[in-house]
Amino acid sequence: MRKLIFLSLLVIVMIVAAACGDGEQASDEEEGEFTPEESIEIVAPAGAGGGWDTTARSAAQVFDEEGIIDQDIGVVNKEGGGGSVAWSYINSQEGSPYNLFVSSPPLIFVPLNGQTELTYEDFTPIANVIADYAAFAVKEDAKWDNLNELFDDMKEDPSSITVVGASSPGSMDHMQFVKIAKEAGVDVTKIKYVSNQEGGALTDLLNGSVDVYSTGVAETVEQVKADKIKVLGVTSPERLEGDVLETFPTAKEQGIDATFVNWRGFFGPPDMDESAISYYEEKFKELSDSEAFADIRSKYGWSEQFIGHKEYKEFLAEQTEELTSLMEELGLAE
């Protein structure tokens, strides 16, 4: 009996905790041909708390709170294989309009690394919603003031400069640096890159263990404000918006004609019905245009980049082609 009382106490605490964050629901009639009739699942192909998870959860939240989609939307984490475990799961849900997933450039890197057979062509790209860009940072007192000075030194003595990032070689933090450096004429096979996956990449830069930190722009803003580091260049096509972000020079304006975008969008299983695709495409457009999502974007330092179903396919083909040749040069592609 005491056990039961204890248990019900637990339940009450949980309810209180959950009730504090209850969102209200609004309704919105949908005129399209396809209307979801069961709950929708958005898979984040990684554990809770990462970039995919954040995107999926914030999208689901805005869909719900703004009443864009009435159906219940659940975010499901499926971790493993850098995303490939979740991808094969979605791939097996052929034609289902209720299983979506969030993805980004690893959908291109991981197949190229030979770690999965599936590529973006095995899924239905629905819409891209977010663009994030890379930043290359050095310590505030470093001798380089722009990318060209850094790259000139790298050309001269590549063994004296170490680049750090959070992902392993052949994935995002490495390839975004390689892409820009290659355009600047650096021998990319000589770049010294170390991966720090325990959250110590920025620390390694601050204590002088390494020289350059390849990361996302958002991670650098506060450190720049506090004069701890300086950003030599970002990979966006144009200057970003925001009071610190706009001070970051792009690689392009420094005469290096290359960009890198960490796109983030939503995909469905293969052979999704056309009506379902256009339904979701429209909904994601609505999401992307909503103020609530704009607010989330600005908080995380993401840029808006909506790409619809058709153009998304072309965009992905382009991205894949560019990265394939780069990774082949490094001997990383299989």
């Binding site: 248990l7 949980m14 309810i15 905790a17 959950a18 659940g74 096979t189 490094l330 001997g331």
Partner: protein
């Protein structure tokens, strides 16, 4: 006899180390780092062989301790262990097929019963109550989705 248990283990460990070493030597080289991904595994493989050989010849000193452990092993319990292992395997296999609630109810009930718990009413209550409450807490309060399986909620 007891000494030979350690010797058998050491042979198994050496076999394991050799398999591990073979795989280590097959790791593809990556040219851009001074120390490649194979160094540590190779070192570990040889170290394990060395330690296993050491175990082979020093097994004696552990004999006393083995005796103590061995004597408590009542051979008759091996089938029970295997049966529970089979139940756990079935639990895992069917988790995503039948769903969390159904499989857990079945597992908790039958496993407890098998291990000698005879109070049917209490057993049934607990084995139904626990999974259902947990499922509710996880899916609706924590927003962690456990597999629903064939049940509609």
């Amino acid at each position: 006899m007891l000494k030979s248990a350690d010797r058998k283990i050491s042979v198994v460990l050496i076999a394991l180390a050799i398999g591990y070493l073979i795989l280590s030597y097959q790791l593809p080289p990556y040219e851009f780092v001074p120390v490649d991904s194979d160094l540590m595994p190779k070192a570990l493989g040889y170290l394990l062989i060395a330690l296993a050989v050491g175990l082979f010849f020093t097994g004696k000193s552990d004999a006393d301790e083995d005796k103590k452990e061995e004597s408590t092993t009542s051979k008759s319990e091996t089938p029970a262990l295997l049966a529970v292992t089979a139940m756990v395997l079935a639990y895992i296999l069917l988790l995503e097929v039948l769903g969390f609630v159904i499989v857990t109810v079945l597992f908790v009930f039958f496993c407890s019963w098998f291990l000698g718990y005879k109070k049917f009413k209490v057993n049934a209550t607990v084995s139904i109550l626990f999974p259902v409450i947990l499922y509710y807490i996880f899916n609706y309060l924590l927003q962690i989705r456990l597999p629903a399986g064939i049940l509609p909620f």
